[in-house]
């Protein structure tokens, strides 16, 4: 009925394993043991730094490139980004050109940044609320067929967006008569596509909340709505924060859904659409690509840092029952 007995057994099993092997390692040299007891050994630190370096170098190259003059980036006199440290030619012009609001030729990224923000904030909120409501019912509701339904929702993750876009667009424009080139279409489409994964991730967390907590609330006379808002959601903050950051990124970085539903107007098109347009026009504005790409990751990175303090125990923390 409750998680406790199983968890205790698991604990015993876990602790039992090293116990059984104790004899083998009792002979280990004390010094060796002291060095090894911390997982952050010199070897681990070195390995972590190597991974960090390999993962960062490509982006760092783009970062350096974004400050180099146009002639150094493209064309016959261009060379590798690392040469910037030898020729010392750095400029802010790329960023000024990329964000300038004036002139029909300017990429005018600031407007698209606002569009992206206006698309992503409601979608993230909608997905979090709707997915946690559904996940709560799948985990703690009591009706026949909920396992089967949950597996079905899980399987919906594989429906390729490319296949779902056209029927949905027809529905929006012909049946619902939603105005073309408005945020509404983008909000609804993104929310739909975010739900299966959101429900899957949150279900795994919410189903591991100890049953006693919910049972106790029920005995005290709390109904489903009270349990959901007062107990489930506060306890799920780490999971909600993790899902929020990923949902934010998926929508922020989406190009496909935007291409279909934004109608291509500068009024609603997100920044990815603009980035694709800039890199699509061969030649003339190639030198803006690195700067524009960097402008577009500032806000997601800020969100990541802002939410990171909630990652103390994230999705599925304490999944001992696994």
């Amino acid at each position: 009925m409750t998680a406790t007995p199983a968890r205790d057994e698991a604990d015993k099993a876990l602790v039992g394993l090293p116990l059984g092997e104790k004899g083998l390692h009792a002979a280990d040299e004390p010094i060796m043991r002291r060095v090894k007891t911390k997982l952050t050994s010199p070897f681990a630190t070195a390995a972590a730094l190597i991974i960090a370096a390999i993962w960062t170098v490509p982006t760092f190259g783009l970062f350096v490139q974004s400050f180099r003059p146009a002639a150094k980036q493209v064309g016959p006199r261009s060379d590798g980004w690392w040469n910037a440290f030898f020729d010392g030619q750095f400029t802010f012009k790329n960023y000024v050109d990329a964000t300038a609001a004036a002139g029909s030729q300017s990429p005018n990224l600031s407007q698209y940044l606002i569009n992206s923000t206006a698309i992503v904030i409601p979608v993230t909120l909608f997905v979090l609320v709707l997915a946690s409501m559904a996940a709560y019912i799948f985990a703690w509701g009591n009706f026949r067929g909920r396992h089967a339904m949950f597996i079905f929702v899980f399987a919906l993750q594989i429906v390729p967006l490319q296949m779902a876009l056209i029927p949905l667009l027809q529905l929006f424009t012909q049946v619902l008569q939603l105005p073309a080139g408005s945020y509404t279409q983008l909000w609804i489409a993104h929310t739909i596509f975010g739900l299966p994964l959101g429900i899957f991730l949150l279900h795994n967390f919410i189903s591991e909340i100890p049953g006693e907590v919910i049972e106790a609330a029920r005995v005290d006379g709390a109904g489903h709505t009270t349990i959901f808002w007062r107990i489930i959601l506060p306890l799920s903050v780490p999971a909600l924060a993790s899902l929020a950051i990923f949902q934010f990124l998926w929508v922020w970085n989406d190009l496909l859904v935007a291409l279909v539903f934004s109608g291509g107007t500068p009024d609603v098109a997100p920044i990815t659409q603009r980035l694709a347009e800039i890199s699509g026009t061969r030649g003339a504005r190639d030198y803006l690509n690195p700067a524009a790409a960097f402008v577009s990751i500032i806000i997601p990175l800020g969100v990541f840092f802002a939410l990171q303090r909630y990652f103390v125990r994230g999705l599925l923390a304490g999944g001992l029952k696994g």
Binding site: T59, Q65, L130, H147, A155, G319
Partner: protein, 321 residues
């Protein structure tokens, strides 16, 4: 700046409308007579998500399943699309590539993500170190395309290289290499890009899970003389098994669906195509929606084992509870 105000207003209205709908549902659930309250709760909590998913995912999926058995004009043609799929010359290569992608990407991303999460756990500057590996997730595929062009770029021998890897090759006296053109290893170089992106996802979730493993368990194992590797194998891994399944599953599905990387870097040429890319090409470029739909069905079949596995894990969890 007036356009900013207008947009803010739209966002405000949308959120207010959404809050009103949710509030109404909660009110109805609370006010329902006791005898039907459980039923009303289930319906009220599930209905919004269910309606959206039926309209936006189930209906298109059904339509796609039907399309898979029709030709370019929409007339039913039996299993012709599937026959075409498996008889075209590139079919074997496309399928082979898809299998390589779905095996390597989840495996490598999870291994690197887990190793990194363990290594930096409680280290000084953990937040910054996390952000470094997380950063690729924050970059759009368009941005990633630009970034990896700076890594894989090729220029003829004798001309100064602009790609990092070829500059290194030339520096040690090797010939520059066409990383994205030379089959079959070019598929590996595309996979590296996906691993680079997905490792951040694995790392964030697994790092959170590691912090959820009770400290007492690790401490007990340590006092019992378990070395760090044994602590990791016998305490940490069982403690985060649930998260590992979630991470592997999510990345596998994302990999099966990936087409942006292939699309932007090679457009599926030079023997690098995958099923998702073929699907896009057939449905949107070649005007063969039937063939595209048939490929989508194959993708679904490929993911079926993962669905079955997760269903089993779920059932085991319920039995424990």
């Amino acid at each position: 700046m007036e356009f900013v105000g207008g947009k803010l207003l739209q966002v405000g209205i949308a959120i207010a409308a959404f809050a009103a709908v949710i509030g109404l549902i909660m009110l109805l659930v609370d006010r329902a007579p006791k005898s039907t309250r459980d039923k009303v709760t289930v319906i009220g909590f599930l209905a919004p998500a269910a309606i959206l998913m039926i309209v936006g995912l189930v209906y298109p999926a059904v339509q796609t399943s039907y399309l898979a058995f029709t030709d370019a004009k929409g007339t039913p043609n039996g299993v012709d699309n599937f026959v075409w799929m498996f008889t075209q010359p590139e079919a074997v290569i496309t399928l082979r590539n898809t299998v390589i992608w779905t095996v390597l990407v989840p495996l490598l991303s999870t291994v690197f993500g887990l190793a990194y999460a363990v290594f930096i756990d409680k280290a000084r500057g953990e937040r910054i170190l996390k952000a470094l590996v997380f950063m690729p997730m924050a970059i759009s595929f368009v941005g990633a395309g630009v970034i990896w062009k700076l890594v894989y770029d090729f220029r003829g021998p004798g001309i100064e290289q602009t790609g990092v890897l070829n500059a290194l090759r030339v520096a040690v006296g090797m010939e520059p290499k066409q990383f994205l053109l030379d089959a079959p290893e070019n598929t590996i170089f595309l996979i590296i890009v996906m691993v680079w992106i997905q490792t951040g996802f694995a790392m964030v979730i697994l790092s959170a899970a590691i912090k959820g493993v009770p400290v007492e368990l690790v401490e007990a194992a340590r006092l019992d003389g378990a070395n760090p590797w044994q602590q990791f194998r016998n305490v940490t891994i069982p403690g985060i098994r649930g998260s590992l399944v979630v991470v592997l599953t999510t990345i596998t599905i994302a990999t099966l669906k990936v087409f942006d990387i292939v699309r932007t870097m090679t457009a599926g040429n030079f023997e690098t195509s995958v099923v998702a890319n073929e699907m896009y090409t057939q449905a949107f470029r070649a005007d063969e929606p039937g063939r595209g739909a048939a490929l989508a069905l194959v993708l679904f079949l490929l993911v079926l084992p993962i669905v079955v596995y997760n269903a089993r894990v779920l059932r085991q969890q319920r039995e424990i509870r």
